[in-house]
């Protein structure tokens, strides 16, 4: 944005910006907030709830059917005849239901010495036959598609023929990266602090169906153990890149995740490598130990950012004043540095110089001066910080 910064640049070299709008919004870590979820079918269908209804995780909100899978049957080729001659040997009409193994076409010649028959390879409906290609299409049974509630709460709006919007009061935590889709389970903190590595021996059969919380890193063995005992999810500050690759069986190329079938949902809150889980995230999860949480690892970074999430419904209503932080970065704003050489450091905005400054890499960029915990002030590109929204 141009705002007042541009004007200042022209007449004042040493001035500082009062507020910066170009910043990376931070991940949300909120103790008490209203969470709404739109639960929508991919195609039009039937909605089973009404406004004001209370729903649980697994309640079905809406259902539809998508057309069944088609199976192509090369009838003319099997019968050894021209497509245009085939239709009269068909023993089923278009629109007929057929069972797997049932006859579709039959031909006999030379007083029955030569017989040819085509049987249905699947059960379904004979949808079409082409006299150009000699192919028939059998359409399988419609495939039901359901949308469940995912979060417990109240229906606040019905989307006719599509679904509904559910609202709940909850603690809400966003991760930076995840794998695996929607699940839920009771929160259990398995480490003693946000800087402890989650190892396999910390996970026991008691963690079945639970959401296990780790500290700075989760090991490959711990992930395997969590799957083995049937945990719902693992949440950790960091993970090694090679561990994730081995766990999923392939290297993640593009951050579009959520469809992995790895038997568990994994959420990373800070990044790759050894990364202490942010103190506020860890403390919040600790506070809600024993509560049931809805967890989704789905991540999509390009075009409509989706970050993984942990939603912990509860009744404690706390005044939350953090919304105003989303307005911009000003001196005093709490921030996290998200790139080397101070990756992971937490501090507050000290000042926002207007002039472009040269980095060690020699790039000329907008910077922010940050006061770290111990009082040291460091300079980093504005693009390399995120506001802590908590």
């Amino acid at each position: 944005m141009v705002d007042q910064e541009t004007e200042k640049r022209t007449d004042n070299e040493d001035k500082e910006t009062e507020e910066a709008h170009a910043y990376t919004p931070g991940l949300k870590v909120k103790k008490s907030t209203s969470v709404t979820k739109m639960r929508r079918l991919p195609l039009l269908g039937e909605v089973f709830v009404e406004e004001g209804d209370t729903v649980k995780h697994e309640d079905v909100i809406a259902r539809t059917e998508i057309s069944g899978d088609p199976e192509i049957v090369k009838i003319s080729m099997i019968m050894g005849m021209e497509p245009e001659d085939t239709l009269r040997y068909m023993t089923k009409d278009i629109g007929d239901k057929v069972e797997k193994g049932e006859q579709l076409a039959f031909y006999k010649a030379l007083f029955g010495l030569i017989k040819k028959e085509v049987k249905a390879p699947v059960t379904g409906t004979l949808e079409s036959f082409s006299e150009v290609t000699g192919q028939a299409i059998i359409r399988g049974s419609p495939i039901p598609v359901e949308v469940d509630a995912y979060i417990p709460g109240k229906i606040i709006e019905i989307l006719p023929k599509e679904g509904a919007i559910i609202e709940t009061h909850a603690a809400f935590i966003q991760g930076i990266f995840g794998i695996g889709g929607e699940t839920h389970g009771e929160i259990h903190v398995a480490v003693s602090g946000n800087d402890e590595v989650l190892e396999a021996d910390m996970i026991t059969s008691e963690h079945a169906d639970k959401v296990i919380i780790g500290g700075c890193r989760v090991t490959l063995e711990a992930l395997k153990k969590a799957v083995e005992i049937g945990a719902s999810a693992v949440v950790s500050g960091g993970i090694r890149h090679d561990n994730l690759t081995k766990f999923t069986g392939e290297e993640i190329g593009v951050a579009i995740t959520g469809q992995e079938e790895v038997g568990i949902t994994v959420i990373i809150t800070e990044g790759f490598g050894n990364m202490n889980m942010s103190r506020s995230t860890f403390d919040l999860l600790k506070e809600f130990e024993g509560y049931s949480a809805s967890v989704n690892g789905t991540t999509q970074i390009r075009a409509g950012v989706l970050r993984p999430e942990i939603i912990i419904p509860h009744e404690m209503k706390v005044e939350d004043e953090s919304e105003e932080l989303a307005q911009g970065m000003i001196p005093g704003t709490p921030i996290r540095i998200i790139r080397q050489p101070y990756f992971g450091a937490i501090g507050e905005v000290h000042s926002l110089p207007v002039e472009l400054q040269q980095l060690e890499s020699e790039s000329m960029v907008r910077v922010v001066n940050i006061k770290l915990g111990e009082g040291k002030v460091v300079t980093v590109p504005r693009a390399n910080v995120e506001i802590i929204e908590e």
Partner: protein, 610 residues
């Protein structure tokens, strides 16, 4: 032809925007003293997603920034731009490109993978699309696998080819029936019919029309391969563009409004970028290899002997897709460009962290060198992919000479570096490289330029804007392009061939613009940069050693006039293929020697990393 607000010679102000997936970029142009120049840039976040869901808001914000910077009023109170310029406010032309919401995503189909399907692929790419999949009879998948794939894809459009005119028919219909049976659904909204362009055997038009009557918005155009010897992609490309406007853009949030703001059709960003690269080829009348190295994708463009081909590597990029470069290239190929010790896992983690926080930038020199290493690999893979598309027409009988048979030399791709006269790059990493010689070396290393090659790059990202302007006002576009956009980096002289390290590669006599004469002798492994400024020319006489070729043939000398630039004249005797030792320590030493020889990075900081 679009209707312009006034005759070209009376026009004074043009504004163009590019609605990108994250940022909307406005570029403001002005004619002063008879010459068109770039004035100022304005940028704002794109507003295609909720809660805004109206791209025009982002366009207005970006244009408002231009207004604030110039004090020139552009936005009309009722929406859109004030057109025409009335001596005080407004512009004479507004046009835009767009790649918001993932751009144009297509599926293409043909009969044979290397013939009609390949032609359809080229046509879709040429129209600026991202091709999600290519379906063909011989693509190695069973029918049920293809159906499953088509059902999972949600393309914006399908382009179907197949058969020459009067040629194959039954198998083409099989492909059509397969598509029909799969019932593909369009990406944007469920309420409209999926556009499908048929550009196959013309004898099948009525059957195709009947089959696709329901559930599709069918457009039939001339066959893409009327005969095997001819590829006719233009009608299909045009139909794709029209359907893009009519069906796809009109369903994207705010585009109906945006379309009314401009008299020129909205163009997919890569199509605009491609036009800009074509502008270079047409103006210099030379073979050009260009690239848009973006955050998510790498678009490569070639114009060789007048033939224009574009390829898009949808998942090779420097931010969103940076880890996919690592996945496809292999971490070892990224590590080979790093001259100091760095743990592989550390590099992999940094790249993963860049992917999940794509807007961050390198602060340290170490981080910058890692990103430059990834860029080399993204460009290398992008060109490799491009060569699979920029091929001679397959299925055509080739006349081979005796020498071809001895050399077994009929290369699939005609994009050979010795034939490329100009390399040009655009995209954040190249435009923002702190030293211009960095982008020159990155392009050289990645593409391994051969012979004499001019190197250029986009100064500020505005190639797509100028591409779309060039469709109605070529002279203005070229004026701005030449003066403000196209930064001349210099010229690279690289010998093709490889012998023993340290042995002679070439002798070069250079006559500098001031008449001074330089004599350079280069051995294998040498790299040198001679200062030769923008607008300056030098005469060179190159004598390659027997095993090396500089463009005239192995061991044959060559005389030429070369152009300077902000980086200079790069003398490259590192061999083709590039001589890079397998032994780690030797490789690092050699890299360091090159980096220092051309002052690639600040020496003190570089030393500190060793």
């Amino acid at each position: 032809m679009a209707s312009l607000s006034k005759p070209k010679e009376e026009m004074q102000f043009i504004i163009a925007t590019d609605v990108g997936s994250t940022t909307t970029k406005a570029r403001f142009f002005h004619r002063k003293d008879g010459e068109w120049r770039f004035l100022v840039a304005g940028e704002a976040p794109t507003t295609v997603e909720a809660p805004y869901e109206d791209v025009t808001l982002g366009v207005q914000n970006a244009v408002r920034e231009v207004e604030e910077l110039t004090g020139h009023m552009l936005l009309a109170p009722e929406g859109g731009m004030i057109i025409p310029y009335d001596g005080e406010k407004g512009v004479d032309l507004y046009c835009t490109t767009s790649s918001a919401g993932g751009g144009l995503q297509m599926m293409v189909a043909g009969l044979i993978k290397s013939m009609t399907a390949e032609s359809a692929n080229r046509a879709a790419l040429g129209a600026g699309a991202i091709v999600m999949d290519v379906i063909a009879r011989d693509d190695g998948r069973q029918s049920y696998e293809k159906i499953k794939r088509i059902r999972n894809l949600r393309p914006d459009m399908i382009l179907m080819a197949g058969g020459t005119d009067g040629g194959a028919s039954q198998h083409v219909m099989e492909i059509a029936e397969l598509i029909k049976a799969a019932e593909p659904k369009p990406r944007l909204g469920v309420a409209y019919e999926l556009p499908i362009v048929y550009a196959g055997n013309k004898a099948l038009r009525s059957e195709i029309g009947e089959l696709m009557e329901e559930g599709f918005a069918l457009e039939i155009v001339d066959n893409i391969r009327p005969v095997l010897e001819q590829e006719n992609t233009e009608p299909a490309r045009r139909a794709v563009h029209e359907l893009f406007m009519e069906h796809v853009m009109s369903h994207a949030p705010g585009y109906t409004k945006l379309m009314n703001w401009t008299p020129i059709d909205i163009m997919p960003t890569p199509a605009g970028e491609g036009m800009a690269i074509q502008l270079i080829a047409n103006t210099f009348e030379q073979n050009v290899l260009g690239v848009g190295l973006g955050g998510a994708t790498t678009n490569v463009y070639s114009i060789v002997e007048g033939r224009f081909v574009r390829s898009v590597s949808a998942n090779l990029g420097m931010s969103y897709s940076v880890t996919n470069v690592m996945k496809e290239a292999g971490i070892e190929n990224i590590m080979r460009w790093i001259p100091f010790n760095l743990d592989e896992e550390e590099v992999a983690s940094r790249l993963m962290n860049k992917m999940i926080r794509p807007t961050t930038i390198p602060q340290t020199l170490e981080d910058l060198i890692v990103e430059h290493s990834v860029a080399r690999e993204a460009l290398r893979l992008g060109l490799k992919h491009h060569r699979t598309i920029a091929t001679r027409l397959k299925g055509v009988q080739l006349e081979r000479t005796i020498s071809d048979m001895f050399e077994q030399a009929v290369e699939d791709s005609y994009v050979q570096m010795m034939n490329i006269d100009i390399c040009a790059g655009t995209g954040g990493l190249l435009s923002h490289a702190p030293r211009r010689v960095q982008s020159m070396l990155i392009l050289t290393d990645a593409w391994l330029t051969e012979g004499i090659t001019r190197m250029m790059q986009d100064s500020v990202f505005m190639m797509p804007h100028l591409g779309v302007v060039s469709t109605v006002y070529r002279e203005a576009a070229w004026n701005i392009f030449d003066k403000d956009c196209l930064l001349r980096l210099g010229t690279s002289i690289a010998a093709s061939g490889q012998a023993k390290y340290g042995k002679p590669v070439m002798d070069i006599d250079i006559e500098m613009p001031n008449g001074k004469k330089l004599e350079e002798s280069l051995n294998l492994g040498d790299l040198k940069l001679i200062p030769l400024g923008e607008g300056e020319e030098a005469k060179v006489f190159v004598e390659p050693a027997n095993q090396y070729d500089i463009g005239a043939g192995p061991g044959k000398e060559l005389e030429a006039t070369v152009q300077g630039g902000v980086a200079g004249l790069l003398l490259d005797a590192r061999g083709r293929p590039l001589y890079l030792p397998d032994e780690e320590q030797k490789r690092k030493e050699l890299l360091l020697k090159w980096f220092k020889a051309i002052d690639l990075y600040p020496e003190e900081s570089l030393e500190a990393l060793l």
